[in-house]
């Protein structure tokens, strides 16, 4: 474009010589120019391995899951078509509504804390902590398997023998049943996951911060903008696309909380941590009701699709203000 407008005589650009040079350029660097049928074949070849994985492990199970959600199926034996009966039962199932409630509680606590803390960490990494060692150390909890992190905290927060409760008692406060009491069980698990994921989220946001050109900040400081207002008026708006992506991914991730619950409270106390994924697992794998479990999974899928759509729409995640 720029070369064309700068060209003194437009007609010259249409000369055979320039066309020829373009052609030779195409021959010289295959794939860099026009993408024709020949490239499509190569593209398909490269996509193929990923496609196999996608079809085998995502597409087929999704379609089969949707089919199973309209059946009664105990894994042993054949699925029996029962129409929308599973969905009708779910609408009346108090445990489903309970699961939706506790899952939402978990998501809200987890996302708010994680995003705020991660943003703070990202800014610190960007401005203060330039050392690779410190930046790397932030990622350490994320390197731990979810189950290990959960078990470690389960042990440290134990009512009887946990070091945290020993400390609380030493300070002179009554012991807290972090996993055992209904009001604490979900916040505790949300905090554990916040602890584990914070560094990773911070790293994503940090990458986003680095993409904001320094010239914008220079201009702001010349205009006399203070650090706080620079953050609200420049950093945050320009970080929005990355923030949107991070939020969509972390919200989807935390709606699917499972392993922490599975290795600690297993839905209890009473129904306080019976989150959606765990309830799906319980109905399908413990109680051999794969039809009902599939229907619950389809509902979770729809919820996530809607939530992700709303987030993208409102955060305008596909546009950047940098242009």
């Amino acid at each position: 474009m720029t070369t064309l407008t700068k060209h003194p005589d437009p007609e010259l650009s249409a000369t055979g010589r320039s066309r020829k040079s373009r052609k030779s350029q195409k021959r010289g660097k295959p794939g860099a120019g026009f993408r024709g049928i020949g490239d499509l074949k190569i593209a398909l070849l490269f996509i193929f391995p990923a496609m196999i994985g996608f079809v085998l492990f995502y597409l087929v199970p999704t379609i089969r899951g949707i089919y199973l959600s309209f059946t009664e199926y105990s894994i042993l034996g054949d699925p029996e078509w029962i129409g929308v009966k599973n969905y009708q039962q779910i609408a009346k199932d108090p445990l489903f509504w309970n699961a939706l409630g506790v899952t939402s509680e978990y998501v809200v606590i987890n996302i708010v804390l994680q995003t705020v803390l991660a943003l703070g960490l990202a800014i610190l990494m960007h401005r203060v902590a330039k050392s690779t060692l410190i930046r790397g150390a932030l990622l350490l909890p994320y390197l731990m398997a979810n189950v290990i992190a959960a078990l470690l905290w389960f042990w440290m927060l134990d009512y009887q023998i946990g070091i945290v409760n020993q400390f609380i008692e030493w300070v002179g406060l009554p012991r807290v049943a972090f996993f055992g009491s209904e009001q604490w069980a979900i916040p505790t698990q949300a905090l554990i996951n916040t602890w584990r994921h914070m560094g990773y989220t911070a790293l994503l946001l940090f990458a986003g911060l680095q993409a904001i050109p320094n010239t914008v900040y220079e201009a702001a400081s010349i205009d006399g903008s203070k650090a706080v207002s620079t953050f609200w008026r420049i950093t945050l708006p320009l970080l929005r696309p990355v923030l949107a992506l991070v939020l969509v991914v972390t919200v989807i991730g935390s709606f699917q909380v499972f392993d922490t619950v599975a290795v600690t409270t297993q839905g209890g106390p009473i129904n306080a941590t019976r989150v959606l994924q765990y309830y799906i697992y319980q109905r399908a794998f413990n109680e051999q009701d794969f039809g009902y479990g599939s229907a619950l999974a389809v509902i979770l899928f729809l919820i996530l699709a809607i939530v992700a759509f709303i987030q993208m729409k409102f955060l305008r995640g596909n546009q950047s203000d940098l242009d």
């Binding site: 894994i75 009512y159 009887q160 996993f179 055992g180 209904e182 600690t264 794998f285």
Partner: protein
């Protein structure tokens, strides 16, 4: 050139196919009474005994090798079910009364009737009633009994002596749902707070308890109160289901069981038993081993673990006598079943018959871990326990006196547990009254009216 390459590839492919065909041909030989069969169990304490059985079995039948896999109870059933669906379940596995109805319904077990009659397995050698537990509603037999279990009270002898309770007193406790009888008195007296005050003394601080009179492993709803409260509720004349085995109506709406549960839950409110919320993630036997509880009600399969705690002088008392003036215990037994998908049925039958014979059950008896199903082996196990200095009469007397009742054997066991556990937890945690079990009971019974 190209053709040559193709030809070579084709030849190689044919050769590979031929080789693999040979390989698989050798594996599934016509005689299915040969080769390796897989056997699963969940209790690691029993693994050495059964490994010994497998080695002895291999000596007697050199053509058959048994490969034993032990998987903890929490993952055991999921793995078996998934294995059945994917064709990788074990040939033979330790089966549980609460699980086998679902396997029968989905035709996953091999009926053993023909084998029992051809090989003349003596079903009367087992303790009374054990063999017939494994007969399904279709009248077919799906397992040979391997052991049985009852429930008793494990207690800390030193704590009891300090509280002035003699072994004879501990062995003759009585209970009723109104004031808990001498069972509650003993529990209260054995409870000590941080200031050294006993649970039945004035000034007892129920919020700062050092030693609980009774330990709490959980609400025990999954197996109908097997180790925690069923031995009490049974003395009121209550039964979990309309008939056993194969009941189709549960009775948790009955005042008798609700009163029992209400009494039990009240112990936590009084400070005599840990609050449910403090036991999440905790292990009740270990708390007993650490001297944090004086009494633990538990099954005989736990003897080894309780005996193993260092510095604890272990006493074992029978369950308290109840409303009907007698004591009671749930009677449960395990069996070995054969998966219908096995490719080595004959070998599997041989192994199951060996497991159900006195040859193997005497080996199990000699290890003093559980009580084998065969009467003579049971006596040998009791002797083996006695040789270790453990008096197991609290468990065996239930079988001699026929003071046992059965674990409810019904369909939908996992779904029943899924409903009952949160409901029972809520009552034990003091969040809901015992009458709320009526609601859960209605949900449970709705499962059977479908």
């Amino acid at each position: 050139m190209k053709k040559k390459v193709l030809g070579a590839v084709a030849a190689a492919a044919v050769a590979t196919l031929a080789l693999t065909a040979c390989g698989s041909g050798g594996g599934s030989s016509a005689d299915s009474a040969k080769g390796e069969i897989s056997y699963w169990l969940w209790d690691s304490n029993q693994l050495p005994a059964y490994q010994q059985c497998a080695d002895d079995f291999h000596k007697a039948n050199p053509d058959i090798t048994v490969k034993i896999t032990q998987t903890g109870w929490d993952d055991y059933w999921g793995k078996i079910t998934n294995g059945m669906a994917s064709g990788t379940a074990p040939d033979v596995f330790t089966d549980h009364l609460s699980k086998f109805p679902d396997f029968i319904k989905t035709k996953q077990l091999v009926p053993l009737d023909d084998a029992v009659s051809t090989d003349k397995v003596d079903l009367t050698q087992y303790n009374d009633g054990l063999a017939n537990l494994w007969v399904g509603q279709d009248g077919k037999r799906y397992g040979l009994p391997k052991d049985w279990d009852t429930v008793g009270l494990f207690y800390n002898k030193k704590m009891a002596a300090d509280a002035g309770l003699s072994p004879a007193q501990m062995a003759s406790l009585s209970w009723n749902p109104q004031d808990g009888g001498s069972y509650e008195k003993a529990i209260a007296h054995l409870t000590v707070d941080k200031n050294g005050k006993r649970g039945d003394e004035a000034g007892f601080d129920k919020n700062n308890v050092a030693v609980f009179g009774l330990g709490l492993p959980g609400s025990d709803a999954e197996n109908a109160g097997q180790t925690q409260w069923s031995f009490l509720s049974a003395t009121t004349g209550w039964s979990a289901t309309d008939k056993t085995p194969w009941g189709s109506h549960f009775n948790y709406d009955d005042k008798r069981v609700q009163d029992t549960i209400a009494w039990w839950a009240s112990l936590a409110q009084k400070g005599y038993m840990p609050k449910l919320e403090t036991t999440v993630g905790a292990n009740a036997p270990d708390a007993f081993g650490a001297g944090k509880a004086a009494i633990n009600a538990n099954g005989d399969w736990m003897i080894g673990q309780y005996k193993g705690y260092k510095g604890i002088d272990l006493g074992i008392a029978p369950t308290p006598t109840g409303v009907d003036g007698k004591n009671a215990s749930m009677f449960n037994g395990l069996a070995d079943s054969i998966w219908a998908g096995t490719k080595k049925k004959d070998a599997s039958i041989k192994w199951v018959e060996y497991l159900g014979s006195s040859a193997c059950q005497d080996v199990v008896a000699s290890k003093a871990v559980v009580f084998p199903a065969i009467k003579t082996s049971t006596d040998k196990a009791a002797a083996a326990f006695a040789a270790k200095g453990i008096d197991v009469s609290a468990f065996t007397e239930h079988v001699k006196d026929k003071s046992t009742f059965l674990l409810p054997i019904t369909d939908n066991a996992a779904k029943v547990a899924g409903i009952m556990k949160p409901a029972m937890d809520a009552v034990i945690a003091g969040k809901s009254p015992a009458s709320s079990l009526t609601d859960a009971n209605n949900q449970v019974n709705a499962l059977f009216s479908k």
